[in-house]
């Protein structure tokens, strides 16, 4: 049999009807994740067409995007009536269509891409979709996971299938050992800077190499999460013992004999020797530095010690115009060092970096230190389980003692839908995934970085190197 990649194996196993020149493939979806923002119109379509949800048991919903993360906030005691109505609509839709919902205030609630893995619902070899582009996160387990729009949310609710053309594959090989202070966030920012924000369009990325193998599951999720920031359809990492050890501890992974059967199938998933990718890039992991963005897309990133690039040095007119516009928005000068740039806000959270290891990393920098005067620091755990785990370790005290806000779980300042937002002109160092204009609040300016770098900025009140604080 032809040598196949991980992507091809998962794809082949879910083809209900193969693609032809005339029609795309009908692809079966194992797990459908639903949240309040991209689902209401899809449920309306079901009602209009008198359709039911085909597999409610393969569908799981949570509230994350538009909820407040104010400490102690009560269910639906929400200042924004439109957000409250949207959340109520999700409750009504889940009740009507018999879908498991992890509502605000319940133990299972959290960011959709945090709760799937922590429940053990995200499993190797699965196909997973959600009306959210960061669905790529789940590829860390060797699942084929991608974001869809609201129309496709409706397709999956009604038929448990999506129509897809098979993507091309791009191997991103990262070998070597990451140096101390260099995290998965730095690795993925370096990958996006290398291939560009449109570099992965039409492709599924598979991350391979010794540096990727050495990552924990949480770090792998950070990497796969930002695959979409390179324009990729999905990002995947082959499952291995690290994956299986993580899953064995989750409540809803298979148990007993079912586990043994699942494990045997999972072990057959990694790409075969000699399997061909359409494209490949190689990155030396041992040469990576902590990274930070300076512009208005995630590809505009530099090593922390770098200087803002000069548009005048860019020959391509469109790229030059894009950089000029970004620097105007960010109010940064060509040649300016990023270290030392004053900041107003630090956000530690989002589906990229709000898991327990991320919080431990940030806490390791903040322990025994104080947030710089005048800087607001928001720490937003990704889920209620993460919040409780952090509190059991005393991390909440570390953050509070340092002067940071310890908040309730949700998307918070990553998408700025719920009141957690920058003021116009403010600078933030953020562990989230998008530095687009206005993403964290109209007129706000975002530097994307790792939890370590974000915590170092919190202490210094300016962009700082966490390795200096570790010394």
């Amino acid at each position: 049999m032809k040598a196949r990649t991980l992507f091809e194996k998962v794809w082949d196993a879910h083809v209900v009807e193969p693609e032809t020149a005339e029609t795309p493939a009908v692809l079966y979806v194992d797990l459908h994740l639903v949240h309040e923002v991209t689902s209401p119109q899809a449920f309306d379509v079901l009602r209009e067409r008198k359709l039911r949800v085909r597999r409610p048991e393969r569908t799981i919903a949570t509230m994350d995007h538009s909820i407040p993360t104010t400490p102690g906030s009560k269910r639906f005691a929400i200042a924004d009536p439109q957000a409250a109505a949207q959340l109520r609509r999700l409750e009504e839709n889940c009740a009507e269509f018999d879908i498991e919902l992890h509502a605000l205030g319940t133990e299972g609630q959290g960011i959709v891409h945090i709760i799937g893995p922590e429940l053990g619902l995200t499993q190797p070899g699965h196909t997973i979709v959600c009306g959210d582009s960061h669905t790529s996160t789940h590829g860390a387990f060797g699942a084929l996971a991608f974001g869809v729009g609201t129309s496709e949310v409706g397709h999956v609710l009604a038929t448990q299938c999506v129509l897809q053309r098979k993507a091309r594959t791009l191997e991103v090989r990262v070998d070597g050992q990451l140096r101390p202070g260099v995290t998965a966030k730095d690795l993925i920012l370096a990958v996006i800077a290398r291939i560009g924000v449109g570099g992965g369009t039409g492709h599924v990325l598979e991350y391979t190499g010794s540096a990727v193998r050495a990552l924990s599951m949480e770090q792998r999720m950070t990497v796969c999460n930002m695959s979409i920031e390179a324009g990729a359809r999905a990002g995947m990492i082959a499952p291995d013992d690290t994956t299986f050890e993580y899953l064995a501890k989750t409540p809803r992974a298979p148990k007993g004999a079912a586990w043994d059967r699942a494990l045997a199938s999972w072990r057959a998933l990694p790409s075969d020797a000699g399997a061909a990718y359409h494209r490949a890039v190689a990155i030396d992991g041992s040469a990576l530095e902590p990274m930070i963005t300076y512009g208005t897309n995630p590809g505009m990133a530099l090593p922390l010690g770098g200087r803002v690039p000069d548009p005048a040095a860019i020959p391509d007119a469109a790229a030059r115009a894009s950089l000029e516009k970004a620097l105007r928005y960010m109010d940064l000068r060509p040649g300016q060092p990023l270290l030392g740039q004053e900041i107003n806000v630090v956000f530690i959270g989002s589906c990229t970096n709000s898991r327990i290891e991320d919080l431990r990393g940030a806490a390791s920098v903040l322990r025994g230190r104080k947030v710089a005067k005048g800087v607001r620091v928001l720490v937003v755990p990704g889920s209620r389980r993460v919040k409780h785990a952090a509190e059991a370790e005393g991390l909440d005290r570390v953050f509070s003692d340092a002067g940071a806000e310890w908040r309730e779980p949700g998307c918070s300042m990553c998408i700025a839908m719920n009141g957690d937002q920058l003021e116009p002109g403010q600078y933030a160092v953020s562990t989230s995934n998008r530095n687009f204009e206005g993403r964290q609040g109209k007129g706000g300016r975002t530097f994307l970085a790792s939890p370590l770098t974000a915590a170092a900025a919190a202490v210094a009140g300016r962009i700082a190197d966490p390795r200096e604080l570790a010394r």
């Binding site: 923002v37 119109q41 067409r49 109505a85 869809v148 729009g149 839908m417 204009e437």
Partner: protein
Amino acid sequence: MEPIRRIVARTVVLPQRDVDTDQIIPARYLKTTERTGLGQALFADWRYDKDGKPRPEFPLNQPEAQGAGVLVAGANFGCGSSREHAPWALRDFGFRAVVSSSIADIFRSNALKNGLVPVVLDAEAHQKLLASPGAQVTIDLETRTLAADGLTAPFPLDPFARHCLMNGIDELGFLVSQSRAIDAWEEAACAR
């Protein structure tokens, strides 16, 4: 959906590349539970100043943009968030096609489901259109070509997407018609 065979309209040019869906419609407008009325939020942070007044220099606010039906944008249009509110807002404003040298995957897929035709041209044809705002263009789905003064350029369009657009068919109907095959697949998967 209404069948689309040909689009004859004038262009508006937004030359920036990597226009993300947060610019097309900022997240604060996503609290709606409707699909309609989003045209007023289209490009809100670029279109209006801090007092909510239209910025005259923004291409969509210029007099010749009124009634335009085709948006010509820089490369990698529609990157970022999967929000279908982006094509909903573009359609509601009156756009029927988006032209670029590359279009992000999820946006392209969402556009097709809403009668917004994604037209990807080669670099040369794209440059010509970027340089001629207000050009009258004809986008023909039958021949998969875009024609403007002195320019005829082919563009790729998936045969299935084209069939759906030209016949006003939506993909949900097609998928629902596959239910026997889906039943069979599920039965076989259970047996494995």
